[in-house]
Symmetry: C2
Subunit: 343 residues, 2 copies
């Protein structure tokens, strides 16, 4: 079965060139239908430049652009012909099966949630990032879609992440952990303590609290936290990876041996930075929206864009949304859960 | 003037040996009075082993031990003769001018807050960490003392950090930033937006929101956040530093050139890990308690312990507590601040 994957050509620091290159790579590698959403004239111009024929692609014209730092709600109200709003619209109308964007995260979350709506039973969407650890891949949800969450939202994010992990990675009963400042269940803010109770009462394979130093240990498949905390955790890793390189260059680049050492290191550090960079692995699935949405990193070049298309196809093949529909209420509307929420 | 620095000999993973070694180093280097607080018999035994005479040290016997993972409130109620409770007690009685502990952080915060009390006007203590950046040293407050904070607590933490930075580092009007998930003032949770208003209305040198990726950039002297978020940010850096080493070893250690590269890297990575490890720089000042308290990392060896004593002496020399007393209400009880809090 062929899926129809819409790609936002205007989103990201290297748009439109790298995004289009990624779209061409994705077409070649996966051979699903790729729908290019962006300014038609720019798309044509870039295609000529790359000597790629557009006959295998559908183009949906979306001349307006939402920049990376525009306020989300305002921008989607004002720019109805932007690639993000048009993409959300055609997702709702089922003209595409999935929407991939490396543009303004807030605008993508808001537009797709408003247009396509949420899966029945889901109260808030969550952005999940996938990253390699010392063992297997782990997921962290939410990294910024929902920054004033209620406890139930975190349980729902846990359910969706667990389903993602089991259907996409074929792992039965993946482990779910709660990001906290200590492992004991008495640890953490009042909010997190309540969330802990919800998870403990659920049917998920909950392994309890997980400290932030263990995020990369691979001890846990799906790590749940509120969007503010998750965003901070994610961006600290970005900042630290950048600083590691600069520090090592400063510390080593002085004498001959140091320079050789630095050359070795630079190569490996680049590899390491890529390995912890979720963008390289195909972007971040936005879970909870009634349509497959993948958010790429703003700095994405062609390969990450192609990988994001791969992630979208995986979700579609395994019918993640159907799975979430079938399970979300069963886990979150149990009487034990309700009792905890009512107290 | 000689200060009296009390050191918790039982606290930390390498207690009592490394802590005592640190105490001996501190005596030699700074020549202030060092008071050893812990089990007298163990202290004597270790001193003999190290061939150090105890005649230059006062020993306060505290035979009980609070372990690293004991619940804070319970442990200090039950173990009145522990080094942490005894240390807090003698701090209150002004038998020591400062207390240095690498033990259970929660127990140190709770015991010193209960015994010595808070500085008049301060509502909650905060743990500040000092770390080097690409430019100067930066401070992050709070990293875990106060995990259910009110907006005013964060403003107070900002005031204390700013005073610390100006009196200890001799920098006039240090910059203060709020850790957030975006730079615009419209960003963040409802809680953080309110905190932003308080800072903007205060007389601090507030430069606005700061993203987590910029923590290590040196763009801001004092970075304020709630204790839960700060703890996550701090521990992500620890986890990532550990993982960097393991990853690079795995990626490189295979062929001959790779092995050479790894050797270079290991040396530099150790240096880097030390440079971002606040423990090496002398531990974390607990600000707001009516007495100088420095919390060392649980993994502290002798040098970090000695450095923590240095930090304590700096605070005492510059009379940080007197400075906080004189300024906290002036900044936090202004009519503009009250108006924001009342709405």
């Amino acid at each position: 079965m062929k899926f129809r994957i819409g790609i936002d050509i205007s989103g990201g620091d290297f748009a439109p060139r790298e995004i289009l290159k990624g779209a061409f790579l994705a077409k070649k590698e996966f051979n699903h239908d790729i729908i290019l959403i962006g300014p038609r004239d720019e798309i044509s111009k870039e295609a000529r430049r790359e000597r790629v024929s557009l006959k295998d692609f559908e183009v949906i014209d979306a001349p307006e652009k939402i920049t990376m730092d525009e306020q989300a709600a305002m921008s989607i109200r004002r720019k109805k012909n932007s690639s993000i709003v048009v993409g959300a619209e055609v997702l709702k109308e089922k003209k595409i099966d999935a929407f991939v964007s490396c543009g303004n995260t807030g605008a993508v979350v808001t537009a797709t949630t408003l247009k396509a709506g949420l899966i029945e039973g889901v109260e808030r969407p969550g952005i999940a990032v996938l990253f390699p650890t010392l063992k297997e891949i782990s997921m962290l949800i939410d990294v910024g879609a929902n920054i004033n969450p209620k406890p139930l939202h975190l349980l729902q994010h846990g359910v969706m992440a667990s389903l993602y992990y089991s259907v996409v990675f074929d792992k039965e009963n993946p482990t779910v952990g709660l990001l906290n400042i200590g492992e004991e269940e008495t640890k953490g803010s009042d909010f997190v303590k309540l969330v802990h109770k919800l998870f403990a009462a659920s049917s998920l394979n909950f392994i309890g609290n997980l400290e932030a130093k263990d995020i990369f240990s691979g001890r846990c498949d799906c790590i749940v936290c509120d969007g503010f905390v998750g965003n901070v955790a994610l961006k600290v890793t970005e900042g630290l990876a950048d600083m590691t390189g600069k520090f090592l260059k400063g510390a080593l680049g002085k004498d001959f041996l140091g320079k050789i050492g630095y050359l070795f290191m630079r190569r490996s550090l680049k590899k390491f930075k890529k390995s912890i960079d979720y963008a390289e692995h195909g972007g971040a699935p936005l879970l909870g929206v009634n349509g497959v949405v993948i958010i790429g990193h703003g700095r994405s070049s062609a390969y990450p864009v192609k990988n994001a298309v791969r992630v979208a196809i995986q979700e579609l093949k395994r019918d993640l949304i159907g799975n979430i529909k079938g399970k979300i209420d069963a886990v979150c509307k149990g009487s034990e859960i309700q009792e905890i929420l009512d107290t």
